[in-house]
Amino acid sequence: MQADSPQTITNAGSPPADDIQIDLTGFLSSHFVLVIVMTATAGLLRYLVFRGIDFPLQDGAWAYKMAEAVATGNYRIPQTALFDGRAFESFFPPLGVMLAVFIDRQTGGTLFDLFQTLPGQLSIVTVPLVYILSLRLTGAKWLSFTTALVFGFMPVTTNWMVVGSGIVRTPGYIFALLAIHQGYALLVWRNENHLLTTAILAAFAFLSDPESGYFVLYTLILMTLVLGRNRYSVINLVFVLTLLVMLGGIWLVPAMVVYGVEPYLSAAATVFRPSQILSPLLNTATAFTGEPFIPVIALLGYLGFCLLIAKRRFFLPLWFIIIMILHTRSASAFMAIPLAFMAGAALHQLVIPLLLRSSQISYEGGLPLLRFSERAQLRQLNQHFYLLPVWVFGIALAGYIVFGAYRGTQIVRERVIDEVELAAFEFITSDESRIPDDARFLVFTSETDWRADTTATWFPALTGRESVLLVPESAWYNDFGETLTLYNGIDDCTAQPLTCLIALDRGAATARGIAVTPAITQSDLVRLRVLDDPTSLVIVNELLPEVFEYLYISPGVSGALLEYLVQTDGEVYTSIRAEGNARIYQLSSLEITEQDAEEIEQEADAPPPAEAEAPPTVTEAPSGN
């Protein structure tokens, strides 16, 4: 083994005259071509997500009903839209929805089709926009190219934008990127020609998706504090904010007059939740970058984070931290921007230069291609494989990231309403005498993340019935936290439904008028767990036959129906292997037996383990050994 050997030092900042310079050759020197290729590849990745689907991905139900109302009213913003079995107020800013309706009319398709494809198509635009933004912030083409590449293949951004609600999110994101691009020129370059465009684009971002507007707001403030720090920038920032308020106020003031201030304060409060500040970093379910394998992008981001701090360039690290702190509701989607910048910096200013160091090549950016004469020089220097490791590294890393992006984004394709569920929805709406219009539903699904709960999101839009648990919409009614608690808690109810429902009711009786136990009457309906886990449905029904009455099972799954009947007969056991199916139960009564009540009390009163009786002593091998 070897001891430390002195390292060859190459001062690339001022390379010696005889040092070998890297330059680009041929058409590859054209960034335009490369950016086009990169955008096309990122576009292909997104296309592979929404290709062939016949239903909007994941969510967007409310926006869809809103768009229908806007289209019907010929661009007039309706005061309410029929959504949750009732007239739902049009709290949300209308620009994204109106753009969708406009595009729909220009293309001649249907709104429903548009919700499937438009978010994904629009999201492609964000990739070159990040390139342009990076060019403005850094002035370095190759660094910008790498930054956009990382951004384009980070699954979290794709997954956030290609879904149904991307119809409002993606325009907001695009306007936000443009506004920051303009804001940098205004606040850092002090070019006041960009004042109006900054304000207008920021207002557009806000009017498309308030979260994007909020993102622009604190980003511009941070930019002024870190990069501007002069009276000129501060004054311009004040002007921008004033204009932003005026432009946003065109919609916001009338809306507040109609609906009051409270819904907007309530919604704003959901964006920042102190308990979630570190959740992107501490999440054990997924990487905040969305990478499904080893998170190379996250690591590059971390290296870039440290690198920029070491270089006393604090804006990007601070931007990243500020988003994580102030924007907890959608932190990952917005953190992706500074993360991509930092990852690009790490690659260009740390990783690749260091990898090239052993070849005594100073790196000035760009693809490490050499001219013929330079190759000859290197050959003389006995550096035959001077660039091989870098190329291997680059290709392998790029392949790994691209494949990870593909796998990480394909998961969204599973989040669609399928035929089985549509049939169940149709059953609900087909016969009013069977299920009354004012019936309320408690929708159980196997999804634990409310953002990805496709069934819960689309149920009210497609059935016209009220769902008692709508997490996103609860944000406007000042009960987001309580509804979220109820939603998370209800996931445990598949095992012990009765006690669970009652316990939930105790904890969340006030959530949006949801009072599960006392409020559920014989006319109410409880729809239990759709898809994935048919066994739990049988459990519920068999354990509580006096409470739930079987009402519906999806057609085409007669095997499951047969099993159900056999099981309720109580004589023969059949292993359930049926495909996912939807079942609907009617609550016929809610009588709590003495035993149930005792168990509930015990559960509520059970002391934590530390306060229970003294532990038995088990030290040595028991008798019999």
Partner: protein
């Protein structure tokens, strides 16, 4: 664009007099982490029941290996490599300490010794003290290294890891400086690793050979390495001959083949959970490992690449991989963070007020690089605690579970059989199933430990039965009955508190099942034991 201008040496290396203090700091942090985890429970963390019973059997037979193991009353041959059982059994006999306490603390102590042995290896096997210290720190905190070592089963795994690393270390020394005196430590530690656990033994054997072939190939060294390997074979032969005499080598071969992980060598690259490091949050160390491979390539450190490549191809499992992975991650950290980031020079600037040139301090990048490494360490350590929340690793049996097992050992016939249902899959840490036979002296029809000694078909059948029985948590009693038919022995169903599905209520309502424990009304956090009446 500014490129890297590395200094001649890394800052930490330059202050070599601080190295002992850095090592001491690493050891202190490691001890605190391990002790902190063990103190969270009153019982050995995780698994260890089978090993516990093996030690008890050995002691009961006055340290002569018994013919069969009493674990789960299956009378399976006592062929598991016994070195750790002798050490722990001897320790218990000498100190008269509680065996469960030894199972709590012995793994901690040995895993700390493993850190020191690893440092000795790394300080020679890597280029310089900075890398050696970094590798030692990674080895000390990475979840894949910590979690298996300090659980109850760590009595075997930690012992095996120390022996294996020591064997590779001395093998490496022998390659560098071929001396006959090194034959004995190489052979002894190699044999000890083999006689403690197959995985680590195989790792040691492969590593000694790979390190030798890649590094030095003198005739003398070759002769000495072969001599060391032959001596190791001789040392192991007594146990092999003993096993062959009483059982033939078939159970050993079964255990070897049944424990082989046939997953693709690329699996750790394309999984979020089963990575090289088992980090539960962001796998930053694993990602550094990927970059480290390329750093090794450009710096022509082929040994590390070949070493980890060979280990991925051979079925040694992920745990022993922690040694080369720690090396590669350390190389990456040293190259990219310690050297790379700290070598940046802040350019001088001109003060606009005075016109004077202001020289920026160059200590700042060094401070940042050190802070970056510390942040990585803290983040990884936090990940170990998060592992407990996510995967239920490092959880010990609680007082309720121990109370239930004590009741079983005192109140049920010895010939009775139990159906232990926890609802956990075969890949999860089912410490109840593992410890139940050892603490109760009763048979669990769903036991999965020690059954790798069975033929492949029987082994697979046992694993399937386990999975099927655990799947019964959402079914009714007939599910159990279809898997475990009635027999002329008392039969009990043992439900842990983790079983919250339908089965719990179904058995309570079923007249064929008599709730025998607890005698009072059902408690939510309580284990339930039913006796099957017919």
């Amino acid at each position: 664009m500014t490129a890297v201008t590395p200094t001649k040496d890394a800052p930490i290396t330059a202050r070599s007099r601080w190295n002992p203090l850095w090592l001491l700091l690493i050891v202190v942090v490691s001890v605190a982490l391990r002790v902190g985890l063990v103190l969270t429970e009153d019982f050995p963390l995780g698994d260890g029941g089978f090993f516990y019973q093996s030690v008890v059997d050995l002691q009961a037979n006055e340290f002569v290996p018994p013919i069969t193991s009493s674990y789960n009353l299956e009378q399976l041959p006592y062929v598991f490599p016994p070195a750790a059982f002798y050490i722990v059994g001897g320790l218990q006999t000498i100190t008269n300490a509680s065996l469960t306490e030894i199972f709590r603390w012995y793994p901690v102590a040995v895993s700390v010794v493993a850190i020191l042995v690893f440092y000795a290896f790394a300080s020679i096997g890597l280029r310089g003290q900075t890398e050696a210290l970094l590798a030692t720190m990674i080895f000390a905190i990475v979840p894949i290294g910590v979690i298996p070592a300090i659980s109850g089963g760590g009595v075997v795994r930690a012992t095996a890891s120390v022996s294996a690393i020591a064997a590779v270390h001395y093998g490496n020394l022998l390659g560098i400086n071929p001396r006959r005196t090194l034959i004995v430590p190489v052979a002894v530690f190699l044999a000890l690793a083999m006689l403690t656990q197959f995985q680590w033994g195989l790792f040691a054997l492969i590593s000694v050979i790979v390190v030798y072939f890649v590094r030095r190939r003198s005739l003398k060294a070759t002769t000495l390495i072969i001599a060391a390997l032959l001596l190791a074979v001789v040392l192991m032969s007594s146990w092999v001959l003993y096993v062959d005499r009483y059982h033939t080598l078939e159970p050993l071969a079964n255990a070897l083949f049944n424990s082989i992980d046939v997953a693709s060598p690329l699996t750790p690259f394309f999984s979020r959970v089963t990575t090289f490091t088992s980090e539960p949050m962001l796998g930053l160390l694993a990602a550094l490992g990927i970059l480290g491979i390329f750093v090794c390539a450009v710096t022509k450190r082929w040994l590390l690449i070949v070493w980890i490549g060979v280990l991925l191809v051979f079925p040694v499992g992920l745990e022993p991989l922690v040694v080369p992975v720690a090396f590669i991650v350390a190389v990456a950290i040293n190259y990219l963070i310690v050297t790379g980031i700290s070598s940046f020079r802040i350019p001088s600037r001109i003060d606009p007020a005075t016109g004077a040139v202001v020289q920026a301090s160059n200590n700042w990048p060094v401070v940042v690089s050190v802070a970056s490494v510390i942040l990585l360490v803290v983040y990884t350590a936090v990940g170990i605690f998060k592992s407990r929340d996510v995967t239920e690793l490092l959880i010990g049996l609680n007082r309720f579970q121990l109370s239930a097992m004590e009741w079983v050992s005192e109140n049920t016939p010895e010939e009775s059989r139990f159906i232990v249902i926890t609802g956990l899959s075969i890949d999860e840490e089912d410490n109840v199933t593992d410890w139940f036979p050892a603490l109760t002296g009763r048979s669990n029809v769903a036991a999965t430990r020690s059954v790798e000694l069975l033929e492949a078909a029987a082994f697979e059948e046992r694993l399937e039965r386990y999975e099927e029985l655990q799947a019964c948590v959402t079914q009714r009693a007939v599910c159990i009955e279809s898997i475990v038919p009635s027999a002329p022995v008392p039969t009990y169903v043992y439900l842990t508190p983790t079983v919250r599905g339908r089965l719990r209520a179904a058995l309570l309502q079923n007249d064929n099942y008599d709730l025998v424990y607890p005698s009072t009304r059902t408690r939510v956090n309580e284990t339930l034991i039913f006796q099957r009446l017919n």
